[in-house]
Amino acid sequence: MSKPARELHIWAFLQGIGFYPGGWRHPLAQPRSVFDRAYYEDVARLAERGRFDAIVFGDQLQGRDAAGRTPERLAIPTLDPFTLLSAMGAVTERVGLVATVSTTYNAPMGVAERFASLDLASSGRAGWNIVTTAHPNAAPNFGERDLMEKGLRYRRAEEFVNVTTQLWDAVDDPARPIVRHKGEWFDVEGQLDTPYVPQGRPVLVQAGQSGDGRDFAARTAEAIFCPAATLEAGQAFRDDIRERVARAGRDPDGVKIMPGLAFVLADTEEAAQRKERELLEMADDGLCIEYLSESIGYDLTRHAASDLIPIDTIVAECEFPAEDIRRMLTPGVERGQTIADYCRGYARQPRGHAIFVGTAEQLADRMGHWIDEGGCDGFTLQPGFMPEELRLFVDHTVPLLQQRGLLRTDYEGTTLRNHLGLSTRR
């Protein structure tokens, strides 16, 4: 088949139960199934039927508690994403598998081994979303008292990726050389046991928003997951990244920009809006208060929901940098909001990601428009709740995208690099 003139890429971002915190309570949601292999196999086949480039999972390296109390009303996705992707790869043949792994709480050799194994097991479909871990509670799970400072984390990440790349490249080399590297962070002499890495290297993905993150992405990433609430924000981000990539001496077309897009679909716009309202209302005050508690690392359930925001106590005791939290809460304090009011607003707001609510046709229009206007190279789609919204997208939006020549009707190649149109060797 001929290549679409304005091809777009789609990733399925599958976080446990979907985008809406209360979505697990929807009558069609399957919150108990998320502990069964059959569920993941069905979802993987669905993504492949929808001709997605890849399935993507985010990750955390800390419990979801605030000050030791774990939320009761949030559906915490508790199965390890790397394990899920391995199981999903076993029942599919083409769809890519992108796992989020930290460079701060791992060793290059271990990460190189894991991705080499995933790439081998899936016949060349592995992708690595490189993160440096920003949650302070991750540190004590790895024997550290404090999180490393951001600039240092990115310096380490860069050298880390350099070492893993050398290890993968050595597998491809018929001479099977031993990798010797001595740098600021790592002093290694090693060789992978993995006999074969089909893609040579996994696809390198990045999701950093800060200047540090963007520069790191410009030097290393082949695809970027980012928030873009508006077309203008998407355009600005994409232009900025492409410029940084060019400055780093790389081809801007070799980096795909994939902003998040949450969605709720129905036959009519009104029905979709009604469904979204239901999903929002399923996040009751109790859930919203726990949701913010987790986000700020302070247990708000200690206070009455009708209390005013106890900003000084929160700032003194929260697990995140105090100034960030103060900046975040001050508008609510100035408006005289109660804890419940503020939390409701927070938990029911888009978290920086665009949210689409409407029909399959409107969604296809919107996606095409963003591509035409240079807002992105594709979308990281976040179903409102699982698995129903993903199924609606695959059954109703995907055929429209295919008819319009925006999306492949079938996979042309076998690897994630093929799907994304990336070079096999950088």
């Binding site: 009558p27 292999r37 009761e72 076993a90 060793a107 081998l120 090693g190 399923m282």
Partner: protein, 311 residues
């Protein structure tokens, strides 16, 4: 009678054929009557980590394996408890509670230097570090009680927060705060397997659920098993048996003469025929989980005792 053998990427095929061959080898072992497959390889009589990361291999093979338990052989000296606890928790869920793990303290010099200066370790310290890694991992599994998940759409209650806790484990080599962002595995802990020749057993008070013992000859293996029992080991024991393939004869060297074993771990170039030859001499274990099949108790969290009885 439990039958087990190792499963790893074949050495005699290359590239694109590797995974197909691995799945074919698994099917052959399954058809021959294996109850348990160790995702690792034999280094002589010793089980060591394989060429495919077992935390990837187990979920990748879970669908093919159904009915056969998988045991992830992991390089313990280079594993971090938080990652391992999550990976094995998920694998235990995805396999319906039939996961085991064999934390191996065996390493090669290239692996050690490959992990680098941060992981450098004195040989005398290896048993302690390996055993501490296992304890830290188990402590993280204990951060959730088995009945923590409520998942009630009507009331909006997803879990019972009194059943999830920080554990603040502080060991000789590892500190982990918890809680794990993963529910307690269906088996409480996946079944802990050890090879008696592994340095991890030199750690004081290291108590695996299942041991791989012996391997030289029937008499030596029988007395090794007896010695473990005398030392008070009450778990399951599999006798290692090497294959001596003789056309038309029983391919297993004196397996029937081994006394006191709960089954056999086959070390053979042609594992399926060795398994098939052994299978008629004992019935496969029954049970939904691997613990049930091995008649092993489900470990309780040490925190349950401190819990209020009121729901």
């Amino acid at each position: 009678m439990i039958l087990s053998t190792c499963l790893d990427l074949a050495a005699d095929v290359a590239g694109p054929q590797l995974m197909a061959r691995l799945r074919a080898d698994l099917s052959a072992c399954k058809a021959a009557g294996a109850d348990m497959l160790l995702l690792g390889r034999q280094d002589g009589a010793l089980v060591v980590p394989g060429r495919l990361d077992a935390l990837i291999g187990a979920p990748s093979l879970a669908g093919d394996a159904q009915g056969v338990a998988l045991v992830a052989v992991l390089p313990t000296l280079f594993s971090l408890p938080f990652h391992v606890a999550r990976g094995l928790s998920a694998a235990d869920f995805l396999t319906g509670g039939t996961m085991g793990w064999l934390p191996s303290a065996v390493t090669t010099s290239l692996r050690t230097t490959g992990f680098g200066a941060e992981y450098a370790i004195d040989a005398s310290d290896i048993p302690a570090k390996a055993a501490d890694m296992v304890r830290a991992t188990q402590a993280l599994w204990d951060s959730w009680d088995g009945d923590a998940l409520v998942i009630d759409k009507a009331t909006g209650r997803y879990l019972d927060t009194s059943r999830v806790r920080r554990v603040d484990y502080r060991g000789t080599h590892f500190d982990v705060m918890g809680p794990l962002n993963a529910a307690r595995p269906p088996q409480g802990y996946p079944v802990l397997v050890a090879d008696e020749q592994d340095a991890i057993l030199r750690a004081p008070d290291y108590r695996p659920d299942l041991l791989l013992v012996g391997g030289d000859d029937a008499v030596g293996t029988s007395s090794a098993i007896a010695a473990w029992r005398e030392r008070g080991f009450s778990g399951r024991i599999l006798a290692k048996v090497a294959s001596a393939v003789v056309a038309g004869a029983c391919p297993i060297d004196q397996a029937g003469a081994i006394i006191g074993a709960d089954g056999f771990h086959v070390i053979a170039a042609d594992a399926p025929s060795a398994l098939a030859a052994l299978r008629p001499s004992g019935t496969p274990p029954t049970g939904a989980t691997l613990r049930e099949r091995l008649s092993l108790a489900v470990p309780a969290t040490p925190h349950s005792a401190n819990r209020s009885i009121a729901a």
